[in-house]
C-alpha cells in the first residue's frame, strides 16, 4: 500500500498528488454546484430578508417579508392548497403504485406491456400532457365528460369550476407519478425472498395474511422512501397547474411554487418570492426530518 510521506516526483508527497488528482475529478461538479446551487440558496435566504425587486435597490426589512406573507390571504390560501394537494396526491399515487406493483410482480401474460403502459406518463412532459388532459376533461369538447354523462356522472364545469379545479389537477398529478413509484415498488418486491411465501403457504396463510404479515412489513423501507419522494414532489406541483388552470379559478389551484413563479417572475418581487420559496424549503426539510426519524427507529432487517 502507498503511504503518505513518500516523496514522489516534483517534490509533492504521493498523498498530495493523489488528492490533487481527486480534486481534478470533482472540480467541475463542485464549481457548478457551488455557483448554481449553494450560492443561490444562501443568496435567496438573504434576499428573503430584503425588499428587493427588478427595478429598485434592495432594502433590508428583516422578517418583513415573512410577516407580510402570513398576513396575506393569498399566501395562506396557497399554503393550504399545497398541503391539501400533497395530502391527497401522495397517498393516492403511492397506494395505486403499490396495487399496480402487486398486480405486475407475479408472472402474467402481457406483463411488460402493462408495466410499460403504466410507466408511460413518467416519461411524458407534464406540461404538454396537462394540455391534453385539459382538453380530454373539458366540459364542452372533452371526451371523458361525454362518456361519463352516459353513466349519469357529471364532472361539473371542468377546470373553470372552483369546486372541481383542484380535483382535476390532483387527478393529473396522480396520473403522472403512480407508474414511476410502481417501478420502485417492483424493485422492493423483488428483494423479498420467495421462501417466506412458501413457508407461509405451508402454514396455510391466505393471500391477505401473506400480504399483511410478509409483503407489507418487508416493504416498509420502500414505502417510506417512495412516500418521501412523492410528498416532496407533490409539494412542488406546478406544471399541470400552469397549463390547466393558471392557478385559478380564484386562486383555488395556486400552489407555493406557482406563487414563487408569479411573484418572482411576473411581478419581479424577488424578496417576497424568496420568502415563499424558503417556506417551501422548510416544508421539504420537515418531511426529510420525519424520514430520518423513522429510518432510525423502524428499519426492518431480514
Amino acid at each position: 500500500m502507498r503511504r503518505s510521506g513518500v516523496r514522489a516526483r516534483g517534490g509533492l508527497t504521493l498523498r498530495a498528488r493523489r488528492s490533487l488528482s481527486a480534486y481534478g475529478f470533482i472540480a467541475p461538479s463542485v464549481i457548478i454546484l457551488g455557483v448554481f446551487l449553494a450560492w443561490p440558496m444562501i443568496w435567496s435566504l438573504r434576499t428573503s430578508f430584503y425588499e428587493a425587486s427588478q427595478f429598485a435597490p434592495p432594502t433590508f426589512v428583516g422578517l418583513g417579508n415573512y410577516r407580510k406573507l402570513f398576513a396575506d390571504a393569498t399566501f395562506r390560501g396557497d399554503l393550504v392548497n399545497t398541503l391539501v394537494y400533497a395530502a391527497v396526491v401522495t397517498p393516492l399515487a403511492v397506494g395505486l403504485a403499490l396495487v399496480f406493483a402487486l398486480m405486475l410482480h407475479r408472472r402474467l401474460r402481457g406483463r411488460s406491456f402493462f408495466r410499460a403502459a403504466i410507466f408511460l406518463p413518467a416519461v411524458l412532459s407534464f406540461g404538454v400532457m396537462g394540455i391534453a388532459w385539459d382538453f380530454v376533461l373539458d366540459p364542452n369538447i372533452g371526451v371523458l365528460p361525454r362518456w361519463l354523462q352516459h353513466v349519469g356522472l357529471s364532472l361539473g364545469n371542468g377546470v373553470n369550476d372552483p369546486n372541481w379545479a383542484m380535483a382535476y389537477v390532483m387527478f393529473v398529478g396522480v396520473w403522472k407519478n403512480a407508474g414511476f413509484y410502481m417501478v420502485m415498488y417492483l424493485a422492493g418486491l423483488s428483494t423479498i425472498p420467495n421462501d417466506f411465501y412458501e413457508a407461509a403457504a405451508i402454514d396455510g396463510a391466505g393471500p391477505w395474511a401473506r400480504f399483511r404479515h410478509i409483503t407489507w412489513p418487508l416493504l416498509s423501507n420502500t414505502t417510506l422512501f417512495v412516500f418521501v419522494i412523492a410528498a416532496i414532489a407533490s409539494l412542488q406541483a406546478f406544471d399541470q397547474i400552469f397549463v390547466m388552470t393558471h392557478g385559478g379559478p380564484f386562486f383555488k389551484t395556486e400552489t407555493l411554487v406557482y406563487l414563487v413563479y408569479r411573484t418572482g417572475f411576473k411581478d419581479f418581487e424577488f424578496g417576497y418570492a424568496s420568502a415563499v420559496a424558503w417556506v417551501l424549503v422548510f416544508l421539504v426539510f420537515l418531511i426529510s426530518l420525519v424520514q430520518n426519524f423513522y429510518f432510525g427507529r423502524r428499519q426492518v432487517k431480514y
Binding site: 493523489r18 488528492s19 488528482s21 481527486a22 475529478f25 470533482i26 467541475p28 461538479s29 457548478i32 454546484l33 455557483v35 448554481f36 446551487l37 443561490p40 440558496m41 435567496s44 434576499t47 399496480f100 398486480m103 402474467l108 411488460s112 402493462f114 410499460a116 403502459a117 403504466i118 408511460l120 416519461v123 411524458l124 412532459s125 407534464f126 406540461g127 404538454v128 400532457m129 394540455i131 391534453a132 382538453f135 380530454v136 364542452n140 369538447i141 372533452g142 371526451v143 396520473w175 417501478v183 420502485m184 417492483l186 424493485a187 423483488s190 406546478f238 406544471d239 400552469f242 397549463v243 413563479y261 418572482g264 417572475f265 424568496s274 420559496a277 417551501l280 424549503v281 421539504v284 426529510s288
Partner: protein, 269 residues
C-alpha cells in the same frame, strides 16, 4: 380463474385511463377542428387531415424549438453525464481531504427544491448576459446532486480488486475511470442519461424563465405559451403536443425494458 379475469379487467381499465390523453392527443391532431368541437364523444377520427400539422409549424417556429429542445436536453445530458460520473468516481474510489464533507453536501443538495434557487440563478444569468442563450440554460444544470449520488452508489458496487489490479499495472486514476469504471457502469449511465434527457426535454418552468424569445424556447414551453394564446385551436395545439411527445415515446419504447430494469436494479430504491 375468476380472480385472473378480475385482474386483467382491472389492469385493462387502468391502462385505458392512463393512455387516454395520449390516444386522444394523437387522434385529435389529425381531426378537422369541426369534428373535435362538434362531436366530442367520438374518439376515433372520421376524417383524417394534416391541416393541424401544417398550421402548427406555420404558427410557431417548430423546427427551431425542436432543435432548441435537443440542444438543451442533449447538452445538459452530455455535460452532466461526464461531470457527475467524474465526481461520483472520486467519491467512491479516491481518498482526499474533504470527501466526507462533499458527500454530506450532496445529500443535503438532494433535499433542496430547485425552485428556491431560481431567482438568484435568474439574476446571475441575466447579469452575465446569458438570457436566451444555450450556455445560460445548460451550464447551471451541467451537474446535479441526484446523478452524483446515484452513480456513486453504483460505482461502490464494482469490485475494488479490479482497479487495484490496474493500479499495480501502472494505471492512473483517469485510466481506471475511463477504462474500468465507466465500461462496467453502462446500465447505470444509460438510466441516468435517460433521466436527465427526459427531465430536461419535458421541463417547463426552467425554459419559461431563461428564455423570453419564441425562437429560444423549448417545445413544452413554446407549446404552453402558444396554448395560452390560442386555447380554441384544439387540433393545432394537439398536433404540436404530438410532435413534442413523439420523440420521447419512441425513445422510451426502444429502451423501456432496460430502462425500467435500470431503475429497479441500479440502486434507485
Amino acid at each position: 380463474m375468476v380472480r385472473r379475469v378480475g385482474l386483467y379487467a382491472g389492469l385493462l381499465v387502468a391502462v385505458a385511463v392512463i393512455v387516454l390523453p395520449v390516444v386522444w392527443m394523437v387522434f385529435a391532431s389529425v381531426k378537422p377542428e369541426a369534428d373535435i368541437t362538434g362531436n366530442p364523444a367520438q374518439l376515433l377520427p372520421e376524417h383524417v387531415t394534416t391541416q393541424n400539422y401544417r398550421e402548427v409549424t406555420r404558427q410557431i417556429p417548430f423546427a427551431r424549438q425542436f432543435l432548441n429542445s435537443i440542444i438543451f436536453a442533449g447538452g445538459v445530458t452530455v455535460f452532466s453525464l461526464a461531470f457527475n460520473s467524474m465526481c461520483a468516481f472520486a467519491l467512491a474510489r479516491l481518498d482526499f481531504p474533504g470527501r466526507r464533507a462533499l458527500f454530506i453536501a450532496i445529500i443535503l443538495f438532494l433535499m433542496i427544491p430547485y425552485q428556491v434557487t431560481l431567482i438568484p440563478i435568474y439574476q446571475l444569468v441575466a447579469k452575465l448576459g446569458l438570457m436566451n442563450t444555450f450556455p445560460g440554460m445548460i451550464i447551471p444544470r451541467a451537474t446535479n446532486a441526484f446523478g452524483i449520488f446515484f452513480l456513486r452508489q453504483f460505482f461502490l458496487g464494482i469490485p475494488r480488486s479490479l482497479d487495484e489490479a490496474a493500479r499495480i499495472d501502472g494505471a492512473g486514476d483517469w485510466r481506471i475511470y475511463a477504462r474500468i469504471i465507466l465500461p462496467l457502469s453502462k446500465p447505470a449511465l444509460l438510466t441516468i442519461a435517460l433521466f436527465d434527457f427526459m427531465f430536461n426535454w419535458n421541463d417547463l418552468l426552467w425554459p419559461l424563465i431563461f428564455t423570453t424569445s419564441t425562437r429560444m424556447e423549448t417545445l413544452p414551453a413554446g407549446l404552453a405559451l402558444f396554448m395560452g394564446q390560442h386555447v380554441s385551436q384544439y387540433g393545432v395545439v394537439m398536433a404540436g403536443a404530438t410532435l413534442t411527445t413523439l420523440p420521447i415515446v419512441i425513445a422510451f419504447l426502444f429502451v423501456q425494458r432496460k430502462f425500467i430494469q435500470g431503475i429497479a436494479t441500479t440502486g434507485l430504491k
